[in-house]
């Protein structure tokens, strides 16, 4: 023993152990250096990724105004009752404890199970899962029941049943529990008041506000404005991917669709900090949304209203199908464009029920979503005599002063074209005003089909206009291409009967009311046709530098100039004037207004299935500022059904202009006296 205790103090083995200790510690330090200093950004990044969920916040949608700044589409506050799931976690636990007890009892004493269930009192009509379900299912069921108890109670207090679907709720909890669950969408003001006046609000339930699209004038201009649907989840250009998206809308028809990119704005982004369970801890706005740009239209809300009203009054049953278009031929501005029947675009916000969509949009035989002004095709009937007249006059095929004898009908082959004008000897203006079929078949047969087709196309037939809406059609004109595609190959024959049909605007001819309006603009402006203009400018909705306020401007633009001598227009205009002004001859005399020179042409086209009645007009004839086209399906006659509608529109316009003039005069007075 003694000798062993005399070991030297410096034992080399202790040095080995000490060296090894220091080596191990330096391994740890270099490991820590690697993790904490060299890779710290990487770990910070993975921390951020697990802490934050990004949420796309839609921007508030740009507004749409008429030419005087009256809103046609705006945003309103909408209230939702949302459930913040993280604040209910203690309730889930309590509920789960109850059900765990129930489950245990069902295993130990299955005979008492009914009592156990009565004790828990699950909400009515909630099916209790079988006891051998997995704990995962039981937990998810407990969460649902806990929330269901609260929504039932709240529904009772508010007097509205709140539906809580198990699958929808569970999916929300599983996939995006950091976002609140919406219990009630877009509730009424009364319900907002009821909810807020509760003394004891259930925990985790909040009233949240967002903005929703609203169309204050409901059906008015619905086909122009279009409507919205819930936006799909695809990313727009330049948008960053987010974990979640809040409900957003996208235009799927009308200006809402064509100007979607302008109106939508730039969505913002919120960052929600979540805990390990995925519950929301707090939230901050990362990127502020930029509201969409505003549209300023050429539309005049007053005229639009009056035109709508006049159109509705044309049919005592108020089931009118038709269209009214008011245009300024001097710049192509569309002042009103009505199509009936229409729809209320508010129906689609925030969503339309399947039943309602079926009942109001799919089932009716009369289509409501398509615009009769731009999409439906009609036979122009006698209105086409304007084109026949222009073609014959410019071709010198007829002397407008020469009288031609009519016989109350023209027989070609086996078929007779009746003429409602009393047989007699008429010059161009008289025949036009009386809308004599005999006269126009006679002069129309003197020019070639090609000439007529070319003239029609020059005035806008057979081509799709450039209006920024989706609902458009080109119609048909019997040009060479059409004839080729038309008959059995090898028998592409244009008969005299076909030509006669064309002369009175029937047969192989169809057009939309907006095309008729374009033709009238061409006549009014004597060959200069402006492009139709619906949107004047796009403005930023935020106040910015006045220079940058307008982001897009659409000045009037000449579409084309038609090379036809002025004298032709003189005759046509005189004829148009006579049709309205001459109460003895004129078919359109019911549009007449004393002291205001309106010129127009009526039309009534019959096909097997339906009748189309027309009145196409312009005023004042000295220097036309307005073109008004009225089309009504299955009316009586153009003169009796449509002309009065146009008169009402003109009356309103006159009245407004007088108001404007007198206010300008008084303004001028004030400034001169000051």
């Amino acid at each position: 023993m003694e000798s062993l205790e005399q070991r030297p103090k410096s034992d080399p083995r202790l040095f080995i152990l000490g060296g090894f200790t220091l080596l191990m510690m330096s391994v740890l330090i270099s490991g820590l250096w690697q993790v904490q200093v060299k890779s710290t950004t990487r770990y910070e990044e993975s921390m951020r990724r697990q802490y934050y969920r990004t949420v796309r916040i839609p921007a508030s949608r740009g507004l749409i105004f008429d030419r005087w700044g009256q809103p046609l589409a705006e945003n309103r506050p909408s209230y939702n009752i949302n459930i913040y799931l993280e604040r209910l976690s203690h309730l889930y636990q309590d509920e789960y404890a109850k059900w765990r007890g129930y489950k245990k009892k069902s295993e130990s004493a299955p005979e008492d199970i009914r009592e156990a269930l009565e004790e828990i009192q699950p909400p009515a009509d909630v099916p209790v899962p079988p006891p051998d379900e997995s704990p995962f299912q039981w937990k998810s069921f407990s969460r649902y029941v806990a929330v269901k108890r609260l929504t039932d109670k709240l529904g009772e207090r508010l007097g509205v049943p709140i539906e809580l679907d198990y699958d929808i709720f569970t999916r929300h909890w599983n996939q995006k529990r950091s976002l609140p669950f919406t219990a009630l969408t877009d509730i009424s003001q009364e319900m907002v008041a009821k909810f807020l006046s509760q003394l004891e609000r259930p925990p985790g339930f909040e009233l949240d506000v967002r903005t929703l699209r609203t169309y204050p004038h409901k059906e008015t201009a619905c086909h122009i404005l279009g409507y919205l649907r819930l936006a799909s989840n695809e990313l727009k250009e330049g948008e960053e991917k987010t974990n979640y998206r809040l409900q957003d809308f996208a235009g799927i028809r009308g200006l809402e669709m064509t100007f979607e990119d302008e109106l939508r704005g730039r969505p913002g982004r919120a960052r929600v900090k979540v805990d390990q369970i995925g519950y929301r801890v707090d939230q901050e706005i990362d990127v502020e949304p930029i509201p969409g740009n505003n549209l300023f239209l050429t539309l005049d809300l007053g005229i639009q209203h009056v035109a709508t009203q006049a159109l509705l009054e044309a049919d005592p049953d108020e089931s009118v199908r038709g269209s009214v278009i008011v245009l300024n031929p001097k710049n192509g501005d569309i002042l009103a464009m009505v199509s009936k029947p229409g729809f209320d675009p508010n129906d689609f916000v925030p969503r339309i029920s399947h039943d309602k969509y079926n009942r109001d949009y799919i089932q009716p035989e009369v289509t409501v979503l398509q615009s009769r002004a731009t999409y439906h095709l009609y036979q122009p009937g006698s209105i086409f005599k304007i084109i026949i007249g222009i073609a014959a006059l410019s071709d010198h095929a007829v002397d407008p002063y020469q009288r031609i004898q009519t016989h109350g009908g023209t027989k070609i082959g086996n078929h007779t074209w009746r003429d409602l004008a009393r047989p007699g000897s008429y010059n161009f203006t008289e025949a036009f005003a009386k809308s004599s079929n005999d006269y126009f078949i006679e002069i129309g047969s003197r020019v070639s089909r090609t000439k007529i087709a070319e003239t029609a196309k020059a005035f806008g037939f057979g081509r799709v206009n450039n209006l920024p809406i989706d609902n458009k059609k080109s119609g048909t004109v019997p040009d060479d291409a059409f004839i080729k595609s038309w008959e059995i190959p090898g028998r592409q024959v244009w008969t005299a009967g076909n030509q006669a049909n064309l002369c009175i605007g029937q047969g192989e001819l169809s057009a939309t009311p907006i095309q008729i309006a374009e033709m009238m603009c061409g006549v009014a402006n004597e060959g200069i046709i402006y492009e139709h203009r619906l949107v004047r400018r796009v403005e930023s909705s935020e106040f910015v530098d006045p220079e940058d306020q307008v982001t897009q401007d659409f000045p009037p633009k000449i579409a084309r100039a038609i090379d036809i001598p002025k004298s032709v227009y003189k005759h046509i205009k005189a004829a148009l004037l006579k049709d309205v002004a001459d109460s003895r001859f004129g078919t359109g005399s019911r549009a007449r207004i004393e002291g205001f020179n309106i010129g127009g042409k009526t039309g009534t086209a019959d096909s097997l299935a339906s009748r189309t009645t027309w009145f196409a007009s312009m005023a004042p004839m000295e220097d036309p500022q307005y073109v008004v086209v009225v089309m009504i399906e299955d009316g009586e006659y153009g003169g009796s059904t449509c002309a009065p509608v146009a008169r009402k529109v003109y009356e309103y316009i006159l009245q407004q202009n007088q108001l404007l003039e007198s206010s300008q005069l008084s303004l001028a007075d004030q400034s001169s006296t000051n």
Binding site: L4, E5, D11, G31, V37, K273, Q276
Partner: protein, 384 residues
């Protein structure tokens, strides 16, 4: 007389541990209670260390056989009466205290082996001595392995290897048994991880196997499994990996200077699981809040404790004191390396506590008792 450096480092460590546990329990109702409880355990541990110093270690060592025997009985008891938590029986419920017998067993084992090696010096070259030492090692190891607690049982190997080395067991024997040991571990690991179950001789518990697979980043599912099985296996793997991944995020996001005391975001948002943040993963809380600087400070304090222990070993006049001190230091070194290594992904997940820092009564009291033994060796170094 008094090992000043050692005690200064230990007291610093205790203060750090109470603060760290308080922070790891942030936002929980038992935050203050847990921290105070840990402080109380530390006091008890310090008292135990004081009591140990009352008697010369040479006298205490005579009773080491009894201590070893009691420890073995307790390990047996825990297998019969133990409280089962997380699929393992490691604790005895004493009503007021959850007692973990494997912790004091480590000390009893060191005492007993030191005593055995020091009294067997005249036949230390003999293979019988080695075999007896191996039996002393095997009994607690097998009992702890049966709980099962692989991590705690593995700690015994480096401790006994170092003690045998210090005690004069011939080097060729040591090389031979450590070679065998390493070979055995390699074979066990390899066949557990790669050999089909029906051919396995030694079988690891499923959770141990999964932890190891996770650590070596091997897919749980074999190639021929269905897509669904593979997906489930990946999810499970991610789940098991979860604690380590979160610990790494804590440590890594701490950066150079850390986020400050009570500012661990991983704790605040519950990503670092509540059940482990204040014990097995306490280091990642310190590393996140105090950064690299804090981590290095902790390691420096540990190094101070261990080097002080080595100094005490060198000052000891007899082999028994040297063996005790070096055994205790190896025990600390092993636990520190495995635990911190686990926190930074260097080591697979094992349930080993970090001495003095981790929350836990038995472990803290044992750790301080082991410091008491070091102090004892220092006090009685000259008395023979």
């Amino acid at each position: 007389m008094f090992a000043w450096t050692l005690w200064t480092a230990v007291l610093c460590m205790l203060v750090i541990s109470v603060l760290a546990i308080y922070s790891a329990k942030n936002y929980q109702s038992d935050q203050a209670r847990t921290a105070i409880q840990h402080g109380v355990y530390a006091m008890i541990g310090l008292g135990a260390a004081g009591i140990i110093c009352l008697l010369d270690y040479k006298i205490i060592a005579r009773w080491s056989g009894l201590a070893y025997g009691v420890a073995i009985i307790l390990l047996g008891l825990v297998l019969v009466l133990g409280v089962e938590r997380f699929g393992a029986k490691r604790w005895l419920n004493l009503g007021f205290f959850q007692f973990q017998p494997s912790e004091p067993t480590k000390l009893a084992f060191i005492l007993f082996l030191a005593r055995f090696l020091s009294v067997s010096q005249d036949r230390i070259q003999h293979i019988r001595t080695l075999l007896i030492a191996l039996i002393i090692l095997a009994v607690p190891v097998l009992l702890i392995l049966a709980e099962p607690d692989l991590g705690s049982s593995l700690v015994f190997f480096p401790v006994s290897l170092v003690m045998m080395f210090m005690g004069g067991i011939p080097k060729k024997f040591l090389i031979w048994i450590s070679g065998m040991g390493v070979g055995l571990i390699a074979v066990v690991l390899a066949q557990a991880l790669y050999v089909a179950p029906e051919w396995q001789v030694f079988q690891l518990e499923e959770y141990q196997k999964q932890r190891l697979l996770t650590f070596f980043n091997i897919d749980f599912a074999s190639m021929e499994e269905t897509e669904e099985a593979k997906r489930q296996a990946r999810e499970l793997q991610l789940d098991l990996n979860y604690n380590v991944r979160q610990a790494l995020i804590s440590v890594g996001s701490g950066g150079m200077h850390g986020k400050g005391w009570l500012n661990s975001e991983q704790v605040a948002l519950d990503y670092l699981p509540r059940s482990v943040a204040h014990n097995d993963f306490i280091f990642s809380v310190i590393a996140e809040e105090k950064g690299f600087v804090g981590s290095v400070l902790v390691i420096a304090l540990y190094s101070t404790i261990m080097l002080s222990g080595l100094y005490i070993a060198s000052q000891s006049k007899d082999l028994l004191g040297k063996l005790l001190a070096s055994g205790i230091i190896t025990l600390w070194l092993t636990q520190i390396f495995i635990n911190i290594g686990m926190n930074i992904g260097l080591m697979p997940v094992t349930g080993l506590p970090l001495p003095l820092l981790s929350y836990g009564g038995t472990a803290t009291i044992s750790a301080l008792a082991s410091i008491g033994i070091l102090q004892n060796v220092y006090i009685y170094r000259k008395h023979i």
